[in-house]
């Protein structure tokens, strides 16, 4: 009897604890957070550590060429307005997704670059996951390498962070799993041969060995959603941007590794 009562009390405490936990709290204590890098085999780490072995750097090089090339009806290159990316883009990727006033919602880095394509260059936006968009995104994000992840903690963004968090916590799909069931509860275990990891988006776009290519955070998220056999979302969908935003708040303070390598 006594033990049953204790279990009920503990269950109530847990329920209360979850209910009063502030939104955007880091679900994994800061001291226990680990980049996906730390779960990798030494061989895979070695690829990321050496810029002349990391295939992601090929996209960074392409992105640099695009940064300097004229495009669209205005004939402006990114560099004509933003000059040297090493200075102007430093730290930018660390605070994306960010709020766009005109759209009244957060946009991720890919969308932000496409907004400059349409608004500033009067050019057609790049397709999601196209080589050009990944290359420019990788080039811009690489300027933040080592910078601490710092999504803006504003009242405008708060409701979107909350939606992303709700998505992460909610059980869904044919397997009735939430992201949290793997990435908070079982991050130290394996799923088949893969380390589950903590889902901290420290290195995007990443060169994923399984993809044989660079890919965005949304591509990675769509992979996990497919794995959960849940309803998936198109690239650029608000739900995926909100999820990205929430994941960045979980990784607050961790250094950007772009272009990271992942298995």
């Amino acid at each position: 009897m006594k033990s049953a009562g204790t279990i009920v009390a503990v269950a109530l405490l847990i329920a209360a604890g979850i209910a009063i936990a502030p939104l955007a709290a880091t679900e994994i204590p800061p001291a226990e957070r680990r980049s996906g890098y730390s779960f990798m085999a030494p061989d895979t780490k070695a690829i990321q550590d050496d810029d002349t072995a990391n295939p992601g750097m090929l996209w960074v090089l392409d992105g640099e060429a695009l940064w300097n090339s004229k495009a669209g009806a205005t004939g402006n290159a990114c560099a004509d307005c933003h000059n040297d990316a090493r200075a102007s883009m430093k730290g930018v990727a660390a605070r994306y997704p960010a709020y766009d006033k005109a759209l009244a919602r957060p946009v991720n880095l890919e969308q932000r670059i496409n907004l400059c394509r349409t608004r500033q260059q009067q050019a057609t936006p790049f397709a999601f996951e196209s080589r050009d968009l990944l290359a420019l995104t990788a080039f811009v994000a690489e300027q933040s390498r080592g910078a601490a992840i710092a999504p803006e903690a504003t009242a405008e963004l708060a409701p979107f962070v909350a939606k992303g968090r709700d998505f992460f916590m909610r059980r869904q799909g044919q397997l009735n799993l939430g992201c949290t069931n793997c990435h908070d509860d079982n991050w130290d275990k394996h799923l088949a041969g893969s380390a589950v990891t903590q889902a901290l988006p420290t290195g995007y776009p990443i060169y994923r060995l399984e993809w044989q290519s660079l890919g965005s955070l949304q591509r990675r998220l769509r992979n996990c959603i497919t794995g959960m056999r849940a309803q998936n979302y198109d690239y650029g969908a608000p739900e995926l941007v909100e999820l990205e935003l929430y994941l960045m708040t979980r990784a607050r303070g961790m250094p950007i590794e772009t272009p990271a390598v992942r298995p």
């Binding site: 690829i47 050496d50 810029d51 002349t52 072995a53 295939p55 750097m57 090929l58 090089l61 392409d62 060429a65 080589r131 290359a135 060995l209 044989q212 290519s213």
Partner: protein
């Protein structure tokens, strides 16, 4: 927008063993895959990689469909004299790319 990343030491001592690292941008499509509609995706791979030092071939490799995208080829050589490494990649559909790097040997 094919591009290469080359890592050759700028300087070496005479007789020193040095490592050369090369990374070439390429999809390395095997020719064994099919689209969702059942059509074969044609093979598109790099078939050969060569390195010459001051004009003389010092390393060659043949590449095959089982090699991963963006092939990373590294090898060792002995630095005997100053000069220039010339790298060449040749592949399907008329693919050719070159790159070079200089070394000074003391």
């Amino acid at each position: 927008m094919a591009s290469a990343l080359i890592n050759v030491p700028k300087k070496a001592k005479r007789g020193e063993i040095i490592e050369i690292k090369t990374l070439m941008s390429h999809i390395m499509e095997t020719g064994y895959r099919h689209t969702a509609a059942g059509q074969l995706v044609p093979r598109d791979i790099i078939t050969s990689f060569t390195c010459r030092f001051n004009g003389a071939e010092i390393f060659r490799a043949d590449l095959f469909p089982a090699i991963a995208a963006n092939p990373f080829v590294t090898f060792f050589t002995i630095a005997n004299e100053s000069g220039k490494f010339d790298f060449e990649w040749i592949g399907d559909n008329g693919f050719t790319e070159t790159a070079s790097a200089a070394i000074s040997v003391e």
